[in-house]
Amino acid sequence: MDVLRQLLIIAIFPGGIFMLLIGLVYAWINGKLIARLQNRVGPRWFQPFADMLKLITKEEIVPEGTNKLLFELLPIVALAGPMTAALYVPMAGLRPSSSFQGDLIVTIYLLSLMTLCTGFAGANTRDRFSTIGATRALTQLFSYEAPFLLALLGPAIVAGTWQISEIITTNQGLWLVVTQPISFVIAIIGLMGKLEMHPFDAPEAKTEIVAGALTEYSGRGLALFKVGHYVELVIGLTLVAALFLGGLANPLMFLLKTLGLLLGISFLEALMTRLRIDQTVGLWWRYGSVLALLQLVILVIWSTLVS
């Protein structure tokens, strides 16, 4: 029975099919919100599903001069990373299906796999747009990763544990967004950087380098990368909502809190001008890291004083 349960967790809920479906639904909501903010109609509810179906049925062209194994493997790893991370977060307001001391760190690094794979995928092909896109993607990775990690450390330090479920139970009282506003903002913007969402989409800026690192991907590979992005969006939202917005007690709270965050993200995405890659890096290292460190120092001093 235990084996069957494990299989169900991986294949149906919260990994596997559930994540794919909710990822596509959240992608649709995101697209719809942006469209409405720009006075457009936006996609219909089945649009992300139709896109994925189209991409999966398309022929995948492996360009010359690439390592074929890597070309096919990288999209799978890119999707597998966030899928695995789904096991450690309180998905849909339920208890995480797997939990151990230090799973917060593991989750953060599983979420980084996506960008790493994008970077490698771009460097693997000989396309000039891909190469530049890969360089930019990895540059961006190095800029937001440290502040993002520092921002998520805040709740962990207050709770005195590295386990996501324990952090949530310890911080039941006041929402951490009130006591750690800087960390919250940095976590949200870091998530947008991670997902290469609009103001931070220099790695795939279409008016400069076509589709960035993924220019040469056409069929199944592109579909996997895209679904990976959507899944990562949901997991990132869940993680931030769980850590900063007082946990996710039930599915209704999960929906309310994550969709609220998504609305905020869509607002930023709809109304911002794309930042150049040097501006993105400058923003993170000049302000993001310093502010995150400041918040952390205050927290450490505070918790030492209290205890």
Binding site: L37, N39, L271
Partner: protein, 139 residues
């Protein structure tokens, strides 16, 4: 507008007011009176001056004279060549040509839909018959 107006106000008002995009094939807006759509030609009054064909920049109009004295003309109009400039309408002194504002969705799967003959039904029949005859003699 005050100096402080920014793009966020637009976003909020757009979000509240809903999309401005029209649901085109389902809903259609009233079209302007002067809109230049597909050409139509009425044989009444035509003097066969051929000015419409001469001034057409696209060569879309051909005036076929059956009988100049009896004022029997057939006009062959090629929709796929027409540039909808409306010069023929301006050139025609007798007001035979009209670019209707109600026929402007002209896409078709069949090329033969793009060639239209205008004139009295009898004249068209006579013209088509003469065409068939000449084809028969060619063979």
């Amino acid at each position: 507008m005050s100096k402080k107006s920014n793009i966020f106000q637009d976003a909020i008002s757009s979000f509240v007011q809903g999309p401005v995009t029209e649901n085109y094939p389902a809903e259609k807006r009233p079209i302007a009176d002067r809109f230049r759509g597909e050409l139509s030609w009425s044989p009444e009054g035509c003097s066969g001056c051929n000015l419409c064909a001469k001034e057409c920049p696209a060569g879309a109009i051909e005036v076929i004279t059956l009988d100049r004295k009896a004022k029997r003309f057939v006009v062959r109009f090629r929709v796929d060549r027409c540039a909808f400039c409306g010069q023929c309408q301006t050139s025609c002194r007798k007001g035979c040509i009209d670019l209707a504002n109600d026929r402007w969705e002209l896409a078709s799967y069949d090329r033969s839909d793009f060639e239209k003959l205008y004139g009295h039904p009898d004249d068209i029949a006579e013209y088509l018959a003469s065409l068939n005859q000449s084809e028969a003699t060619d063979d």
